[in-house]
Symmetry: C3
């Protein structure tokens, strides 16, 4: 099942429009090329919608935001919706500033997402923001007491997106089915942008298999985690996070459907 | 002949002002250091012309554009022309949006370029745009039926620049002589920014040998392609596009005049 | 003594707000993760102060500046001062344009820095600017005849910051004590952003040991230089500046207090 997603992406070679942060833009671009996709980075409102219209997927990443870039995200997000082109959101640090909270809220209100990926804090902030937007108790944003799983389920139901929460165990849910993924390696946290890369990968897989967003998201999470494991096994003494960074992308480059089927470690909730 | 260009660049150590995209800026900077040059990246109109005035070459790259950056390109381009400092244009995705098409047209109208490098589509769009600007049939932009070679010749004659079209075979022409370069490896397409890097390298070689732009451009194209071959030969199993990315820059770092003379594979049209 | 700084940073895991250039942002982020810190990059005035308030250190880097980013630096710098959070300045190319000179002057006038790191030219320009700001002879900016050591002492006394001047021999001074550091390798000059990375590392060490800025800065300078040596020793034939780039960060990742104590080569002026 997951293997087909990879094969489909290599066959379709989706072009992805990324509005993303400048810290990890290069890694996201090389990751997209590694998985068989192709990136266009463009973040100005004057061209955003036009670029989106050329592409088969859109990835919005909230890192290093500014008002122009957020406006570009709105324009591109709406254009993608209009054209039926799947959109992925990575709400980087969405709880960290009023600007990001507002951006998160506005994006959820105006754009329909195929998938949303964040860590537990980001998904909690976004779930709180979604609640807020619907007039739900303010406390939801201040104190999202709910577990990562509950926030993910809530956000998935409210937004209609497949929600991915990354952490020690990753969660993938469309609001009904819930998967837990056990792939990955703790050292991935020492490489900046592995989360951004997973969001880009999700964008590529969903763009190539738009009718199966849940499976595509699950494949992306398993693939990224598995490649973190493969890359870690390749490290020799003296090699650190910089070498590891390259090896993860190398592993995506070589990942086959068969390897993913064999290496994916996930379970569905009963 | 080509070896002298490399030697000259290492001797002169040209300082290059790059107004470039943030996706590949780091690779372009390290590539420039690898070939013996030195980069300054600065993209704000408030300082653009001042930075250009310190440098011996200017590289304008249309990736991740915005109106401020395009204004900076105009100011720097004109200042470079005033000072006799060679300018290289990389019209990244110039056909993809109205903003980029306008920028391309304006740059061609107001700045004299020593060299322009793009893929077949970019050069076609730019050749169409040049035509348009001169009142030639609108269809030229919509349907550049002409081959890459013809577009390159046309653009070189119209602009006075040496034009490089990269593809399976690369073309280098000053509007009279036409060279075809057979160096390179298909895997270079899986590394983001190898085109941007070639444009930066062309900038360094032309800045160090401003009286020989055609030879300098030819040397850059052969050098980049040859280094793509050298880097590919260095790949071991498990290494993918991320390792390849670093190996290409490493190869430029070690490239000698002799290696280039031996490895360059090009032919002049009779 | 220096070993404690490293150990403290790995224990505290400081969160660093970086307002920095897009050329080397990825390397700075991975360097911070390598030394045990954690980065947040954010450069818009609308969120700058809020992001700073979450962090235990702030690094301001003047590369690829624009007016919005400079405004963000002012807001974040003042907020950091208000909260007692240490600030590090990297005045990249501060002498190269009026915009950068003004930014340098304004930052020195309005923000209290724990440390400032630049090359001899940058520190001279900044020392001249500091003088200017205080009504001292204009010539100071035009012709800083003083040696790097004198400029560093002057700037340290005027600003209250620990000043680091990097070069063949590095200088570290708080305006009284002066250290000379002999670690490092000339090939570090062929990697873009090793200076930016040292400034980020200084930010992490000072944030984790805010009461000992001089020792923290000295530890950062020795650590970066030593890792340049370790990384150079790891290079095999065919490897160039791109491989070297990664190896330096890898070396920081593996650097232990004991290795630093053993490898640091510095002397205090008598």
């Amino acid at each position: 099942m997951l293997g087909e997603i990879i094969a489909q992406c290599r066959a379709v070679r989706p072009l992805l429009h990324c509005i993303t942060n400048y810290v990890t833009a290069n890694d996201c671009a090389n990751l997209l090329l590694a998985c068989g996709g192709s990136p266009i980075m463009a973040d100005d409102p004057d061209e955003a919608a036009e670029i989106t219209a050329m592409c088969s997927g859109l990835v919005l990443n909230l890192g290093t935001p500014n008002p122009r870039k957020i406006r570009a995200m709105m324009l591109s997000g709406r254009e993608a919706n209009r054209l039926g082109c799947p959109v992925v959101l990575d709400p980087v640090g969405v709880g960290c500033s009023e600007m990001r909270r507002n951006a998160g809220r506005q994006l959820l209100a105006q754009v329909r997402f195929a998938a949303i990926r964040g860590n537990a804090g980001e998904i909690a902030a976004l779930a709180g923001g979604a609640a807020l937007h619907r007039g739900v108790d303010n406390d939801a944003e201040q104190a999202p007491a709910a577990s990562a799983r509950e926030n993910a389920l809530y956000l998935a139901r409210e937004s209609g997106a497949v929600v991915i929460v990354t952490g020690d165990t990753d969660i993938v849910t469309d609001g009904r089915a819930v998967y837990r993924v056990h792939n990955g390696h703790p050292m991935m946290r020492t490489v900046t942008g592995t989360g951004c890369q997973l969001s880009a990968l999700t964008g590529a897989y969903v763009a190539a298999s738009p009718d199966r967003p849940l499976t595509a998201a699950l494949a992306a999470v398993c693939a990224m985690g598995l490649c973190g494991e493969i890359a870690h096994a390749r490290l020799s003494p003296g090699e650190g996070n910089a070498s590891y960074r390259g090896y993860i992308i190398d592993a995506i480059f070589h990942l086959t459907p068969e390897n993913l089927e064999r290496g994916a470690r996930y379970e569905a909730e009963q």
